[in-house]
């Protein structure tokens, strides 16, 4: 809730130093007032309280008093040591005082009126001895089971909390969860400033810790139930509902690690900081695509976090080697980190919490979650967790590749865990059976903010990586595998036949042209011969005419001479 967090707190607050909790409460617990932390057995009340105290002493220069009504000091020291705190040293340094108040019913008898002045005194004494600003009372309700006079106890508790306020001590009071109310003895009646509820719920044999700020007088606070973690890193609470869609967007693209796939995307890759969903049936190479993506990111010098839920990191590295990727070198150089866990190890919320923490610790630029379909649970819950997971990644500007397994005969509405609308890009992998063989194809269902190919492409995985194959697109549709090869050779044959036919026709034509020309030459020759003949006859006629003329002349001269 970044927007709210910047709001000026109206109330002085004492930070707990618990990651996330101070965000939810916009600064911490109400300073100088008591806070009730209640929950059932094993919900982490004592851990919460001691973290509050230790952080106060170590981070905020506020020494504290731990008044334990249940655990002995030694047990307490041992218990918080599991969170990495050295309580003994803090006690020795005079930063924390521990007082174990043992009220053993078996050796106590009541007779007449009394008050709890002894308790006040001891608390006051301990507070003064370390100059405490913080106090933990864990679990003060124990007094109710040790002492019978409830009227006295109640009035004394009221006095105690009044005294704490008067002294300006920030106080955490723990209480066991009761029937129909927050605590068995109704402590919430006295502590009205802030009530925090811890819960440890088991659903289908998986436990999830949750925290809720029930009330916080005089301050805004996150009202949801937030999952929280207790492990060797301490307590972390996850304010993971902050889905204010305000994250930065980038128009820079990053390669998917598969050149052929990049080519199908108009921008030449995925946008940085976008979320990509990769769905496919078994054996379509989802993890191999993920490995390519990771390898490309590491090659760019980006930090990558690979969450695996079905395989071990060693297995992924080995398998990636078979397509020519060396992921081991990225692990060695510190750019790539695997986080492997069985989905059933924790509840969904815990997984989310763990991822949240890992993201904060490793600060990756690219994340792979393989696969999200490993998360089982009620659909609503899975969806809400995934939604927050995606938000988490987007808010940090992390490019995320999420894979999801589709069953061969899936129902189309369940294919994406309701994720499709959250995703910026969605690539679907197929394994299609045709003519007795399986062929792998993919297509880009969507990719926000860029044009992308609408074609189904075939791809093969080989020692040199994932390669896209030029698709056969023809009147018979898109063909893959052998069918594509057969179709190609069939076309080749047809082409050859067509060429031969054309050549034959060409030859025919040439031959016919030759014959025609020959005939034409013959006719022309005959014509010429006739022409010559006619010319000859013509000249003979002329000669004959001339001879006749000459004869006639001769005759005439002869006749004249004779006269």
């Amino acid at each position: 809730m970044p927007a709210e967090a910047t709001a000026r707190p109206s109330l002085p607050k004492a930070p707990t130093g618990i990651a996330g909790f101070d965000d939810i409460t916009l600064g911490g617990l109400p300073a100088g007032r008591p806070t009730l932390v209640c929950g059932s057995a094993g919900s982490g009340k004592t851990m919460f309280a001691s973290t509050f105290l230790v952080n106060g002493a170590t981070l905020y220069d506020e020494p504290g008093v731990f008044m334990s009504f249940e655990e002995r000091a030694e047990d307490l020291v041992a218990n918080v040591a599991s969170l990495g705190y050295d309580l003994d040293k803090l006690v020795a340094d005079g930063r924390i005082a521990i007082d174990h108040v043992q009220v053993d019913r078996s050796e106590i008898e009541e007779n007449g009126e009394y008050d709890l002045e002894g308790l006040f005194l001891r608390l006051g004494w301990a507070v003064d001895s370390v100059g405490a600003k913080r106090v933990v009372l864990d679990t003060i309700e124990t007094l109710f089971s040790s002492l019978d006079n409830e009227a006295v106890l109640r009035s004394e508790l009221r006095r105690l909390f009044g005294w704490i306020k008067e002294r300006g001590l920030t106080c955490v009071i723990t209480g066991e969860r009761g029937e129909g109310q927050f605590t068995r003895q109704g402590l919430e009646e006295y502590v009205s400033d802030c009530v925090v509820l811890l819960d440890n719920r088991v659903h289908e044999q998986i436990t999830t810790r949750r925290l809720r700020v029930v009330k916080y007088r005089g301050s805004a606070h996150g009202t949801n139930e937030y999952p929280f973690l207790i492990d060797s890193q301490g307590i972390s609470v996850l304010p993971v509902t902050g889905a204010a869609l305000t994250h930065e967007v980038s128009s820079e693209t990053v390669s998917s690690g598969v050149p052929g796939l990049d080519a199908m995307l108009g921008a030449g890759g995925f946008y940085r900081g976008s979320s990509i969903l990769l769905t496919g049936t078994a054996g379509t190479g989802k993890t191999t695509f993920s490995s390519c993506f990771v390898d490309a990111a590491c090659a760019r010098g980006e930090r990558c976090l690979f969450f695996v839920f079905e395989e071990s990191p060693a297995q992924i590295i080995r398998n990636a080697r078979s397509v020519g990727l060396d992921l081991a070198r990225h692990v060695e150089s510190g750019l790539l980190r695997f986080e492997a866990a069985r989905p059933s190890l924790y509840g969904l919320e815990m997984h989310l919490a763990r991822m949240h923490r890992d993201l904060d610790l490793f600060q990756p630029q690219a994340v792979v979650i393989d696969p999200i379909s490993a998360f089982n649970g009620p659909e609503m819950e899975v969806q809400s967790v995934l939604l927050r997971m995606v938000d988490l990644l987007k808010a940090r500007g992390i490019t995320a590749l999420l894979t999801s397994l589709l069953h061969q005969n899936y129902v189309s509405s369940q294919q994406d865990l309701g994720m499709s609308s959250l995703m910026d890009s969605w690539v679907r992998l197929f394994n299609e059976e045709a003519n007795g063989e399986m062929n792998r194809t993919l297509y880009v269902i969507k990719s926000r903010g860029m044009s992308h190919s609408n074609q189904v492409r075939e791809y093969v995985m080989s020692g040199s990586g994932i390669g896209m194959i030029e698709p056969y697109i023809g009147p018979e549709g898109v063909l893959t595998g052998s069918a594509r090869v057969i179709q190609a050779s069939r076309e080749q044959a047809a082409r050859v036949r067509r060429r031969q036919e054309a050549e034959r026709r060409q030859r025919d034509l040439a031959r016919r042209r030759e014959a025609t020309e020959r005939q034409m030459a013959e006719l022309r020759a005959a014509l010429e011969a006739e022409e010559e003949e006619i010319a000859l006859l013509h000249s003979e006629d002329a000669e004959r005419e001339a001879a006749l003329e000459r004869d006639r002349d001769a005759m005439y001269r002869h006749r004249n001479a004779a006269e």
Binding site: R72, A73, I98, D99, H100, V101, Q102, V103, E107, I108, E109, E110, N111, G112, E113, Y114, D115, L116, E117, G118, L119, L121, R122, G124, W125, L143, L147, N149
Partner: protein, 114 residues
Amino acid sequence: MKNEAGPVPAPSPPPGIAAGYRLRLFVAGSSARSLRTVQELRQLCQQALGAAVDLEVVDIYQQPELAERDGVVAAPTLLRISPAPVRRLVGDLSDEQRVLRMITLAIGEDEDVG
């Protein structure tokens, strides 16, 4: 921890019951109730147990460390240090019979109390 030491018993409890009661009474300041409790207890011990009672009165305001050492929560608190086991009685001791019974109660007799 200081309070782990528990109530300090007398070095060697006297064998006879009449001989060795060691009691410690914690009161808070010199309020009317404190004074009345101290006075009544003194009177009671005198009458019922005679001189065999060693009663120590502690004002927790004056000696808070003693209150912490003996794990005192409520005031007034009466501690029977010896004979063992240590027993404690919380309240202003208004029921004299129960006070007496608690002081004189030995091990294994505590079923009827309370």
